[in-house]
Amino acid sequence: MIAYLTTLIILVAVSALVGLALNVQWGVAGLVNFGVVGFVALGAYTTALLAPPLGWFPAMITAAALCALISTVLAFLSIRLEENYLAIVTIGFGEVVRILLLNESWLTGGAVGIADIPRPFVNLVPPRQYDLMLAAFALVLVAIVFVLLETLVRSPFGRALRAVRDDATVAAALGKPVLLLRVKAFATGGAVMGTAGALHAFYLTYIDPSQFTSIITAYAFMAVIAGGRGSNFGLLFGAGTIMVLLEATRFLKDAFAVIDGTQLAALRLGLIGLGIVLLLILRPQGLLPEPQRKANDFFPDHEGTS
């Protein structure tokens, strides 16, 4: 049972990281990234390739940096024109990454992928308890990223992003460098997606293109919508509940012998799609509200009517 629990923790941790990243990009800054899976895959493969020569930590950092760099380039290219184009460019990016992974076998190992990826602190603990340690590592990683992103969202930087999301012209009239702010937000999200890819690689120790399907993008959007756009706490709840719900469908497979693996995967993704649509219509504001600075943060005696 423990093994199953650690797996669940790590899976939730990966999707939480991806969700936190998308929340910065879309929830706070209003930038639609339909190529989430491309950045996660890029993070995973960079880590897998660089971990042997450089060690797991420098590989993870480089993966995050590379994803941030590519996010900057893509964001700068399309945001100059109009938000809708970023969605189209990112969906293209996701697709191109998938094709390169499959066909550039000299680098990525093609369909076979890359195996025995070195794992963090591998000699710290006997192999039997390693998964438990990795689950702890995953939780610590999520905690660190959460604190960093929550600080950013609650800081003047987050406030400026929310202003740009609400009305970019007014933000510019108040002297805010709109394009620079958006590119920074998109790059921050990209870096966190790269880290999520790294964690994914450390957990599975072997990666191949089939692990990076559009379900990762769908999970992220569902988690952000369910959690409440702009709210990192809400996002954690969202990511957690979705993952638990979907893992529950695993037991569904045992209950209904008739459903095979493919159908189960289809059912999950279809339910996620339905969930995205229903949530957008019925509960657009999501679980938790966006964090806002209240008057009594500064003036405890403020008896304003909230």
């Binding site: 400026a160 510019a172 009239a173 805010k176």
Partner: protein, 254 residues
């Protein structure tokens, strides 16, 4: 050259229509200057060109003796030349207080490194800005609604909030685009009062407006625009007595 803002020979065409046609005028430091004229005279286009929202086809704009022609709006704003919008645009996702905290320039917390690693400075700056914001909100009677989302305010309150937000930028020159439009008389009195006080504090104003009562009440100097160019300038009384202005207004053409 005491002129704070110098617009020389600015033209701007949208498709066939010449919104601005070799328009030249200047705004003096410490004065409230009115920009009036019939619909379609190019008033708002001129304001958009000066503030950097729109690039002129030709001509130059100098602010504080610096050439700002064609500079993007966010850079022009940080030089102290700020503007409001004809149709009020409040930032709905932010609270009333946050709308004001957003205003000040070069906040240490608005860059990632500052937000993460200079938390003390950021906290100190936020407290200072919050104190200033509270004073302004109390002055315009919105302090009680500080935690309300800006989208919940009434039309008039949103206009006051936009004015307050601009003041926290500590500007040198404020361009107001029809501040009186859709504002009830009692509120109009508050706006006039506020502008007078700020003028006393040394802030200069440029006001595009149709409400002659407001223009007559607070403008030291008035430029009359017609068909994209500066028809005549002078005090409100001189200008409104001039036959050409009445003709322009009544549409007899320049």
């Amino acid at each position: 050259m005491t002129a704070l803002l110098e617009v020389r020979d600015v033209s701007k065409r949208f498709g066939g229509l010449a919104a601005l046609d070799h328009c030249s005028l200047s705004l003096k430091r410490g004065q409230v200057t009115g920009l009036i004229g019939p619909n379609g005279a190019g008033k708002t286009t001129l304001l958009n060109v000066i503030s950097g929202l729109v690039k002129p086809d030709n001509g130059t704009v100098h602010f504080d003796a610096r050439d700002v022609t064609g500079q993007p709006m966010h850079r022009v704003a940080t030089l102290g030349l700020v503007r409001t919008f004809q149709i009020v645009r409040e930032l709905g996702g932010l609270t009333v207080l946050e709308n004001l905290l957003l205003a000040p320039f070069h906040q240490r917390g608005e860059v990632i490194s500052g937000a993460l690693f200079a938390r003390a400075t950021v906290r100190e700056q936020e407290a200072r800005h919050a104190a200033k914001a509270r004073d302004v909100l109390k002055r315009i009677g919105l302090w009680k609604l500080a935690d309300h989302s800006a989208s919940a305010l009434s039309g008039g309150q949103k206009k006051l909030l936009e004015l307050a937000r601009v003041l926290l930028l500590e500007p040198t020159l404020v361009l107001l685009d029809e501040p009186a439009a859709g504002v009830a008389p009692p509120l109009l009195k508050d706006i006039i009062e506020l502008i007078r006080e700020l003028k006393a504090d040394g802030i200069s104003f440029g006001i595009v407006e149709h409400d002659m009562h407001l223009i007559g009440a607070i403008c030291d100097h008035v430029h009359v625009l017609a068909e994209g160019t500066n028809l005549i300038s002078g005090s409100f009384d001189e200008v409104t007595a001039d036959a050409r202005v009445i003709d322009a207004y009544l549409g007899l053409g320049v």
